[in-house]
């Protein structure tokens, strides 16, 4: 469905500084699949989503390709993106719904407009019913439809934004931190709704950006771990969260930081995207770093690391690699 090859995004700043927000990302999202992209804040996850929707600011440069069917999202013109892609072929659940919703209009009026734009529904009564049905699908309480965004709690605003994203029935859904600020029950309901959207019709897919590892574990089929703009590990969700565990030391550190696991942080902070080291960007925080880490480890197998944690499942990593990569 979506095939991303060598995607890089650079921001040019005044004074000639360059920010390497995304570097050489390769991944696929297959129909009926949910891929979770996880990583610390500021590692380039949201920029990747903006690039796929053609919503990057003017000072961004992109390289590589991102094919949705036969359309390259990186080179498509604004007219194509606006009229055929956004909302129709790719639905976006935004990171901060409070900023995404129009503050001066009620949720009902925004939903009705979206329904009218994206579907064939016409006529006042029909639009009203369709908007209410759309609200129900995202578990948004119908009696709150006549409120303005500032009258909603964070959780309700998130559900309103989810309802808007689901209206067009887009085959690919991009969810950028859809569960930030929600309580655990609501997180489960939100991700289940997204998952149901994928499962309801076999040729739909979901790319979910999140730092909520529990949410990722709940819905993802595969997990891509991003660090300092690079995808450092691409693995089956079951293996990643289950017994073999993640193989990249960074992924391992992320899981160990969970309160139901060791609850110990990874020492230090992620590097500046404007001043990345030549070698492995995680080496400075990695307990297993060696001299080899001064050079870059390509994502050849399931993980981009010179010294991955061995897989304990007894299978040799080389046989598992092509399956995981799906190149």
């Amino acid at each position: 469905m979506l095939s991303v090859r060598g995607l890089s995004v650079r921001f040019l700043l005044p004074g000639g500084r360059r920010i390497a927000a995304v570097t050489d990302a390769h991944f696929d999202v297959a129909p009926g699949e949910c891929l979770a992209l996880i990583g610390e804040s500021g590692c380039g996850k949201s920029v990747l989503v903006s690039a796929l929707l053609g919503l990057l600011p003017a000072n961004a440069q992109t390289a590589g390709s991102a094919l949705l069917g036969d359309l390259d999202l990186l080179t498509a013109d604004e007219r194509t993106l606006a009229r055929t892609v956004r909302g129709r072929r790719i639905g976006l659940v935004p990171q901060s719904p409070a900023a995404h919703l129009t503050p001066v209009r009620t949720i009902r009026s925004q939903l009705e407009e979206t329904v009218a734009q994206l579907t064939g529904v016409r006529g006042r009564a029909a639009l009203r019913t369709a908007a209410e049905r759309a609200a129900e699908r995202a578990a948004f309480p119908v009696d709150h439809l006549d409120r303005h965004p500032h009258e909603l709690s964070g959780g309700l605003a998130q559900r309103a934004a989810t309802a808007l994203a689901l209206v067009g029935g887009a085959p690919l859904l991009l969810a950028d931190e859809p569960t930030t600020g929600l309580d655990r029950d609501l997180v489960d309901r939100t991700v289940d709704e997204l998952r149901r959207h994928v499962d309801a019709d076999g040729d739909r897919a979901l790319l979910m950006i999140t730092h909520d590892l529990a949410a990722a574990e709940r819905v993802a089929d595969r997990v891509a771990v991003m660090y300092a703009g690079r995808i450092v590990e691409l693995a089956d969700a079951e293996a990643f969260f289950g017994a073999p565990g993640p193989r990249h030391p960074y992924s391992r550190g992320l899981l160990d930081a969970l309160p139901d696991r060791a609850f110990t942080p990874i020492p230090g902070m992620p590097p500046e995207l404007g001043a990345l080291p030549d070698g492995c960007a995680f080496a400075a925080r990695c307990g297993r770093a060696t001299d080899l880490c001064a050079t870059l480890a390509p994502l050849t197998g399931p993980v981009a690391c010179h010294h991955p944690i061995p897989a304990h499942d007894g299978k040799s990593p080389s046989t598992a690699a092509p399956e995981d990569i799906r190149a």
Binding site: E40, S41, L152, S153, A157, G181, A257, M269
Partner: protein
């Protein structure tokens, strides 16, 4: 001892968000307050931090009732509290460099001379490097900004910490790092903590005891509330 007795509070007297909520935090104790989105727990946290005047009920700080509220409580009592909010973007002045952000409470209370010693020490505690301190909020990530907001909350050496969903916007590693900073501070100073959140696993791991909203405000009604203002 921080005691909230039968607190009713909200933004409209006819429709209070919090009804009859009671909660006690002993000195040095860490209490987690757990509740669903929109139940009013952030409002109660603002009352506990003396930032929002309750419509009814009493608030006792070490046995003394908090009085002379205007919109907020008198400063002498408020400075005993350090507060960290959910959204660092909304709770940090976008014009201030991080170093000034952390130093702001010292300036506001006329303790300017402590800045050169206290700010670098705290920046080190929360893991901010010197080059980050010269930046403004839009030049740092959410996690880095929340580290600065936590440093700001600790700068006056508060006896009480109120963390309102401090880690909801953060990734697992930053969450663990910030919780470790709070716990180190509490171990060193014996400060009490009220941590508001909706992640039971986190609060159970972090706090001495976790109370659910339903037991704090049994008469409370659930409903939508306005998005909590950042500060």
């Amino acid at each position: 001892m921080l005691e909230l007795r039968a607190i009713t509070a909200g933004y409209d007297r006819r429709a209070p968000v919090v009804r009859d909520a009671s909660l006690t935090v002993a000195p040095g104790e860490a209490v987690g307050l757990l509740g669903p989105s929109g139940c009013g727990k952030s409002t109660l946290a603002r009352v506990a931090a003396l930032l929002h005047r309750p419509d009814a009920g009493t608030l006792l700080l070490d046995g003394t009732p908090v009085r002379h509220w205007r919109h907020r409580a008198p400063r002498a009592q408020r400075t005993a509290f350090g507060v960290v909010f959910q959204q660092p973007r909304l709770s940090a002045d976008p014009r201030l460099r991080l170093t000034d952000l952390i130093a702001e409470p010292l300036r506001a209370t006329g303790r300017r001379e402590e800045i050169p010693a206290r700010v670098p020490e705290l920046a080190d505690t929360v893991g901010l490097t010197p080059d980050l301190l010269t930046r403004r909020p839009h030049e740092v990530s959410d996690g880095q900004l929340q580290r600065a907001c936590l440093a700001r909350a600790l700068v006056l050496r508060p006896r009480w910490l109120i963390c309102d969903e401090m880690t909801a916007m953060l990734d697992a590693s930053t969450t663990a790092a910030l919780v470790a900073v709070v716990e180190d501070y509490r171990a060193a100073t014996g400060a009490g903590l009220l941590a508001v959140g909706h992640d039971r696993i986190l609060l159970d791991r972090w706090c001495d005891r976790t109370v659910h909203w339903d037991t704090v405000a049994p008469a409370g009604k659930e409903g939508a509330v306005p998005a909590t203002p950042g500060r």
